[in-house]
């Protein structure tokens, strides 16, 4: 469910590629203003004094990895937009989508979702090429070709055959490309109206916007409207996952931050080097 959530988030993010340059400026200014929370976080980081407090040990507790999930120097900005986004999701997106889902049957919505995915294939292919994953780029091209030929892109027939080559669409974005190039992830950063990301994630989404052919072929209003609609079409998976994370939480802001960053780490989206890139240069690992 959470994977869907972030897939939908990425789609949402793609929708507003053009708007992202404004967010970057905001991020820069927020970084200047918000050094105080950063200091707070640092002082709050727990110290492992080796004392036994009821079975806690080094396997998962209080290591650096754990502290990385609390690294939030932009907390003031993030908390503000967390509340705005929360309101937006609960009181605008959710009611609208419930009405939409009532009128439009699930089959059609899933067709639209497939179409949106297939239309975005040049972005994924370009990123695979930029990452040096040529086989992956080929797979991307073939899958889209098959899907367009069979169903004009409204079905995902390619997923019904057993893949000869592993398909990882979640890494085919400019965020991950920057990671492969060695750009660090940067702190947690909530994008207005789109949701949780990191600074690199926000930059990556802008980059992806530049790779979308429809942004060049269509007027920007039409292109933006189409992207927004595609994201809205998938909004149910987004708010279901969001509710799951925040409803059982005492501090929804912290719960979402932890969940997003853990998830990112789990999908290895935060990695500076992709695992395949490490495989290619094993000597680097040994040093």
């Amino acid at each position: 469910m959470q994977r869907l959530f972030f897939a939908a988030l990425l789609a949402l993010a793609l929708a507003c590629g053009t708007a992202c340059s404004a967010h970057k400026d905001a991020a820069a200014s927020a970084e200047g203003e918000l050094s105080a929370p950063a200091a707070q976080v640092a002082s709050a980081a727990p110290v492992d004094d080796g004392e036994d407090y009821g079975g806690l040990d080094d396997y998962d507790d209080f290591n650096e990895e754990d502290a990385a999930l609390q690294n939030d120097p932009l907390e003031g900005w993030n908390r503000f937009w967390f509340h705005v986004n929360d309101w937006f999701l609960q009181y605008v997106v959710k009611p609208l989508h419930k009405g939409y889902a009532f009128i439009v049957p699930e089959k059609i919505r899933s067709g639209i979702s497939n179409f949106a995915h297939n239309v975005a294939f040049p972005v994924r292919m370009a990123n695979s090429l930029l990452q040096g994953e040529f086989a992956q780029a080929g797979v991307e091209f073939d899958r889209s070709l098959v899907n367009f030929m069979v169903s004009l892109g409204f079905a995902d027939v390619a997923s019904q055959s057993r893949p000869l080559y592993a398909y990882h669409p979640e890494t085919e974005n400019f965020d991950y490309t920057l990671g492969v190039w060695g750009v660090p992830d940067g702190p947690y950063f909530i994008i207005p109206f789109l949701g949780p990301s990191t600074v690199r994630g926000a930059v990556g989404e802008t980059g992806d916007g530049f790779m979308k052919p429809q942004n060049y072929a269509l007027d920007w209003e039409v292109s933006l409207a189409a992207s927004t609609f595609f994201s809205f079409n998938n909004a149910d998976s987004l708010y279901k996952a969001y509710d799951q994370i925040t409803e059982s939480a005492l501090e929804p802001y912290v719960a979402l931050r932890n969940a997003y960053l853990s998830m990112r780490r789990h999908q290895m989206l935060n990695m500076t080097l992709s695992s395949t890139a490490q495989d290619k240069v094993p000597e680097v690992e040994e040093q």
């Binding site: 469910m1 959470q2 994977r3 869907l4 709050a44 727990p46 110290v47 004094d49 004392e51 407090y53 009821g54 079975g55 806690l56 040990d57 080094d58 396997y59 998962d60 507790d61 209080f62 754990d66 999930l69 609390q70 409803e247 059982s248 939480a249 005492l250 501090e251 912290v254 719960a255 931050r257 932890n258 969940a259 853990s262 998830m263 780490r265 789990h266 999908q267």
Partner: protein, 208 residues
Amino acid sequence: MKIKVFLLSLIVFSLAALPAFAAPMTARQTAEAGAERILGLLSDPAFKTPEGKPAIRAKVEEELLNLFDFEEFSTRTVGPTWRQFTPQQKEDFKTAFTDLLRNTYIDTLDEYNGQKVRFTGEVSGGNGKRVEVQMEFLADQKVYPVAFRMLEKNNRWVVYDVLIEGISMIKNYRDQFRDILNKNNPQELIDRVKVKAEEQKNKKKEEK
């Protein structure tokens, strides 16, 4: 004749005592057996009927309490500050947090609809004292990676953390509780957990 009876009873008694001396189950075996029993109970058609439900639910809760260690959950979600809790506060927190988890997750069991669990592997850490048992949960034609982190307690493996898609339940709550404990005292945390547990309970009722 007497000797025969004596021998027979000896054999019977030693057989009865066997499980106590049998090799203890590994973490993965414990998790697999526990999951099998729980899913078995949930698959019982009686679970879907109003009459059969309460009894089966009680059995499932018992199995869950065997497999998951709520004491570990409580200690670990609070973290180092646990030492500043008084014994009474520790007990209160444990009760409140267990209630919160129960009220949040127990009703999701009702939605069980034959979904499958496949165990995929295990990783050990903490000098072999901790084991992460990994599995895949198949629902709606999608695969969700789930992991149990387990430790050995009183000769028995128990689950002290659950990870879904890499999100650790314990760490998620610990981050939140740290945030609260930075500004408040333990009693306030306990009160807030109690309020949240109550809120979850009422919400589930409203939905019904």
